[in-house]
Symmetry: C2
Subunit: 358 residues, 2 copies
Amino acid sequence: MTSVVSGDGDVAGAAAAVGERSDAVLAWTRELLEPALRATVATLPPRIRQVGAFHHGWVDERGEPVSGTPGKLVRPALVLGCAVAAGGDPAAAVAVPAAVAVELVHNASLIHDDIVDGDATRRGRPAVWSAFGTPKAILAGDALFILAVRAATRLPAPMVEPAVVRLTDTIQILIDGEQADLDFESRTTLTTAECLAMAAGKTGALLECACALGAQAAGADGAGVRAYGRFGAHLGLAFQLADDLLGLWGDPALTGKPTGSDVRARKKTLPVVAALNSGTPAAAELTVLYENTGAPLDTATSERVLDLVEQAGGRAWAQARAFRELQRALHYLHVARPLPGAEKDLTAIAELVVCRGH
Amino acid sequence: MTSVVSGDGDVAGAAAAVGERSDAVLAWTRELLEPALRATVATLPPRIRQVGAFHHGWVDERGEPVSGTPGKLVRPALVLGCAVAAGGDPAAAVAVPAAVAVELVHNASLIHDDIVDGDATRRGRPAVWSAFGTPKAILAGDALFILAVRAATRLPAPMVEPAVVRLTDTIQILIDGEQADLDFESRTTLTTAECLAMAAGKTGALLECACALGAQAAGADGAGVRAYGRFGAHLGLAFQLADDLLGLWGDPALTGKPTGSDVRARKKTLPVVAALNSGTPAAAELTVLYENTGAPLDTATSERVLDLVEQAGGRAWAQARAFRELQRALHYLHVARPLPGAEKDLTAIAELVVCRGH
């Protein structure tokens, strides 16, 4: 078995079938990952455990179990998918601790980012700081970061040191990307290159780590691990571009965030920065709206901003760039010589993350 | 050479000589540790590095070098002292990555605790959040926690996995202790047992980890590592009791914190909780003052609180308990069968941390 979904593989290429395939991969990931993730979060100290369970969508603010809305588990799907692709145990059990680690890093960073960005909503529910207060959210984020590293120590012994090194170095790059994002808020001019470098840190690094760790757990050689890593890194850029597009034109029901919150807060996301740098008349008007750093933009002005970003070519640029990064990602996936069924699964996941609702 | 200070050892016991001996051990620690600590902090991403250097007292808010007021390096001194005591290389070089890791955990937790507690001053300078804002302080604390784990991967290969496991498990206990401290603020009744358990987590766990890692790096067996760990754990409790006493009656020039800040904020530190539970008339008056959770206490009321804690026996209890924990610590140090000179050095450090200025 070389595929994580059952089926004969003749369906790839058709959009609906890609959707089915990615759904199947994500369902398989959830089945394999969630027991391990729950067991790992259960090792948190009692006072922190409930906050961790809340953030993962398993309980409400009072600790009562809910049928929640956890994340899509894209990162664990990449860890496990790359492990299968690199010839690992079809159950990918060997890579599960790495998948848990990567998902925990992601969730830790979300808890802290929501404080840093002042975002009160996450996945359609209150952000942790909003539900439990900032002090508890700081401590819970710390605990999840550390729990991620601890999870990696449950990999087979020879992998522990390289995995901890890769994971901790990745977290530093991720933090640096977050800091860059924060610094950019007070900058009046920004290039798309600067923003892409920031996105590579903020989003690309953890996807690179996910794919590399999965392949490494399955015994891939250095060249293979690097190729899977490049797949993840480019996919991460495509993902961030898609996410920024969703932040502007996405359906709040899908994003879990209030409509237009990125615009109202004048976030300099990639489509906006591309528009600001376009040299068009729309860019000039947009620049004025973004230079005024007073109150959040009202609804009418927010709608004007969306029109201007589109007129200035920011939307088209971001879509084209996302597609290019996706093509680059799939090139490196091919270079890695994955087992055929797993390549289709990973391609379906890659297309899913780039093509959500826009 | 079995001692980290030169000298013939006939000086132990005399208070002034203990001070000289601990000064010498701390100076030796600084010489061995600081280059490694600076080199490790220098590996942080550029945007975070300056904040890390500021917190360590090496640069000011603008990044200009200063002859700073860094911490005393008690924890690294324990790591290196226990390594020497357990028969490690006299230069204790093998344990330096562990000493760096433990100091970084301490500093990471201080950065986040100052946000959590709203403390604007640290070591007589602005706290990181006060100098750079809360978002940057959250990210810098994250980066230092992760850097601590990364530092531990630089230990000799067979030690990496156990060290990362011990360090990450310790950080969870420390975070749980911080969370307990936070939860206690809103509790109307607290027992000294609850507060001692909290202090064991908040302070004892990292000192236990420091001593155990140092001994382990030097090749101590399981029983030895456990005994050094117990030495650190009891010393940590003694340290916290001493710290709480300093917070009430200490010289601000020594503590680096404004006079009476713990009292004004009605912090339920160990001497206060002992006083509140004393069943004395002073306890009744103190209870009323602590139940009112309005504005911070004014200077006159703060002075009254100090008198009441003293009258209720809180000060005497904390001093006696600190002394008892110190004796227990020294018992376990003896059980560990350290090399004689190193035992004197560790005893001097232990007495230093418990007997500072009260």
